[in-house]
Amino acid sequence: MAEDKSNAEAYWQANLRLIAGCLVVWAAVSYGCAILLRPLLSGIPVGGTDLGFWFAQQGSILTFIGLIFFYAWKMNQLDKKFGLGE
């Protein structure tokens, strides 16, 4: 029982670390590259405008899609590794 509990706790901690990592990327592309850091990235040209504009209208959406699939795939691995899947 005690072992179950520490196993479950380790699973949860691994999940929290994964979520934190994903959300850093989530914030970096949208609030970072697309909004706050846009002036810094203005030197990088993309199709008639700059990288910040690309992130705002395309890059962040593509990153979001990638992030969710990455998270789902990683969590499936964690479910198996800790034996807590269905």
């Binding site: 479950a8 706050l36 405008t49 209208q57 499936n76 479910d79 269905e86």
Partner: protein
């Protein structure tokens, strides 16, 4: 065949399909009704979520907003997609594991309090009803435009159709109908975009076309657009914004609101496994992304097309003669959504940005004011006509716009009816109600909600954008923090959750009402809704994010000062965190 006949054919055929599916999938039990029997595949579910999520706002007005605002309105693109990341990681899998039918049910159980459940029901109903009014109004307008009937008749047709497939089918009917609706709306949205992208850039993929070369001028498309509109006094399309704080908070409000809207959350209860809830969120965003990646291309290309229509020889040459205006301008003029006034009496259409900075140029060219007003909401609907596409594409757009409005209305109505029949009646008023009685109550409350929404949709208080913002603000400031803390904190207790929801909701409503009028009644606002009056430059549309932060802070503080939740609640939180032993969504 006339355009009217083509529209009737497309709209009629798509509706026959939806109603056919609703009858075929008729719900037999409360489980079928609320969670589609719990057996929907993640890809199917993702598609249904896509249709559910993309309303008339996404389909009809978003591209128009971006066309008008350029970079500044990218907030809608990021906000309405980024929320799915939060859903997939912070809410969906755990709520699926919890395995109940509704959002208030989770809040009531986790915070061991009937009051908390009741507060959640109120938040849910306010958010959903405000949202559904806009959808019904949108569907009514689209029906009346394409079927050439008056607005009230259009609204009643919309109400009857929603009634049939939502009330009879429940979640099971809605899920499969929404899959069909997704397919109709995405085809309708992308086909004209592909043609237009090919015409302007030679690239058949609109998202790539957006960053390609404009064939005619050899310049990048966006550079060409910037050049044309700045010649006419407009800001650059790609210009940066000064008020970054407001842009960040607005995006955040839309994201948190997306994750907190109950009609989206309940879709994750319909998949068989916890892992499927995660995949569903990913697939949903893929299907939503198809439209959201197309929208900015539609926006910039339509803006450029509009400008070249008005100034065929370039913005520095003469504008077209009013008598030579294209057919689509004539047709939309009839609806009043395009208005022309020949201010300088030269018989030409001068479209430009009437600002002080541009006044000397305008005077030198003999212009006496902007002469053409184009309602931005017609942009997507008029897009095929602007690009001279065949009549069947216009019929398709009609069917697509209606699919978007009706699928969202149905999803919202289901969330409202389950909150009333399941949380209010079964949870508080009459716990011994039979399954059959509950199903009946769900259908009756849905019918009542349709009548209310139809009535309010027929007499819209004239604030569609505010209503949508309010719905997102309420969901962001009230439901999302309670749900997230219920999963990620064992310490937040009943008192904390209730205090958090009430202050978050109250703060957000008060801030909106101060600028928009109390209960949106015109003239009752305390301050004019202009950037100079906003606290720290935060617009009422962006305040939901601040409301959410206040909700979190209050909930933690109050919880710290009061007793920790009982042992069995802490164990419940534990169990929600692990997929093992999930089983089907059950009713206790």
């Amino acid at each position: 065949m006339s355009q009217f006949a083509i529209n009737v054919l497309f709209v009629g055929a798509s509706f026959a399909l939806y109603i056919g599916i609703a009858i075929w999938a008729k719900a037999g039990s409360t489980k079928d009704f609320y969670v589609a029997g719990g057996g929907v595949h993640p890809i199917t579910n993702g598609m249904a979520i896509g249709a559910d999520w993309m309303s008339a706002a996404s389909f009809i007005s978003m591209a128009g907003l971006i066309a008008a605002g350029g970079y500044a309105n990218s907030t809608f693109l990021m906000g309405w997609t980024g929320g799915y990341v939060l859903l997939a990681m912070l809410l969906a899998p755990y709520l699926r594991k919890f395995g109940k039918f509704t959002v208030p049910e989770f809040i009531g159980d986790r915070f061991y309090s009937k009051q908390a459940r009741l507060v959640a029901v109120i938040c849910l109903i306010v958010a959903s009803v405000t949202y559904v009014i806009g959808q019904m109004a949108g569907a009514g307008v689209a029906f009346s435009r394409f079927l050439e009937v008056d607005a009230t008749t259009g609204l009643i047709i919309a109400a009857v159709v929603v009634f049939f497939y939502a009330v009879l089918g429940g979640m099971k009917g809605i899920t499969y109908t929404q899959v069909a609706q997704y397919i109709v709306l995405i085809i309708a949205y992308t086909i004209p975009a592909v043609f237009i992208s090919l015409e302007l850039t030679g690239n058949p993929l609109p998202p790539l076309g957006l960053f390609s070369e404009h064939t005619e001028s050899g310049m990048p498309l966006l550079a060409k657009l910037n050049q044309v509109i700045t010649e006419l006094g407009f800001n650059e399309y790609t210009a940066d914004v000064d008020n970054k704080l407001n842009m960040v908070l607005f995006t955040l409000s839309l994201m948190i609101g997306t994750a907190g809207l109950p009609h989206v959350i309940i879709r994750f209860f319909t998949v068989p496994k916890v892992a499927d809830a995660r995949w569903s969120a990913g697939w949903a965003l893929v299907f939503i992304g198809l439209l959201y990646l197309t929208a900015p291309a539609v926006a910039s290309m339509a803006r450029l097309n509009l400008m070249t229509t008005i100034y065929p020889d370039g913005p520095t040459a003469e504008a077209i003669q009013y008598e030579e205006r294209p057919n689509w301008v004539r047709e939309w003029e009839v609806t009043g959504l395009i208005q022309y006034e020949d201010k300088n009496g030269d018989g030409r259409i001068q479209l430009y940005n009437d600002t002080e900075a541009f006044a000397p140029t305008a005077e030198a060219r003999g212009w006496e004011g902007n002469e053409l007003v184009v309602n931005r909401d017609i942009l997507v609907l008029a897009n095929p006509e602007i690009a001279n596409l065949p009549g069947w594409v216009i019929g398709l757009i009609a069917a697509g716009g209606l699919a978007a409005a009706l699928s969202t209305a149905a999803g919202l109505l289901l969330a409202i009816s389950s909150a009333i029949s399941h949380d209010l009646i079964k949870g508080s008023i009459n716990p011994n109600i039979s399954e059959k009685g509950e199903l009946m109550a769900a259908r009756i409350s849905m019918s009542v909600a349709i009548v209310v929404a139809t009535y309010l949709g027929a007499n819209p208080p004239g604030f569609a954008a505010q209503v949508v913002a309010l719905a997102f603000g309420i969901a962001a400031a009230s439901l999302f923090p309670a749900l997230m803390m219920g999963i990620f904190s064992k310490r937040v207790n009943n008192m904390g959750a209730i205090a958090g929801m009430l202050t978050g909701l109250g703060f957000t409503l008060v801030y909106i009402f101060v600028y928009k009028g109390w209960l949106f009644i015109p003239g009752t606002n305390n301050l004019a809704d202009t950037p100079e009056n906003w606290v720290l430059g935060i617009s009422p549309l962006s305040i939901g994010a601040v409301g959410a932060m206040i909700n979190f802070a209050v909930a933690f503080t109050v919880s710290k000062a009061t007793a920790a939740p009982p042992q069995e609640i802490q164990e419940l939180v534990e169990s929600v965190r692990y997929p093992k032993g999930a089983g089907m969504a059950v009713d206790h």
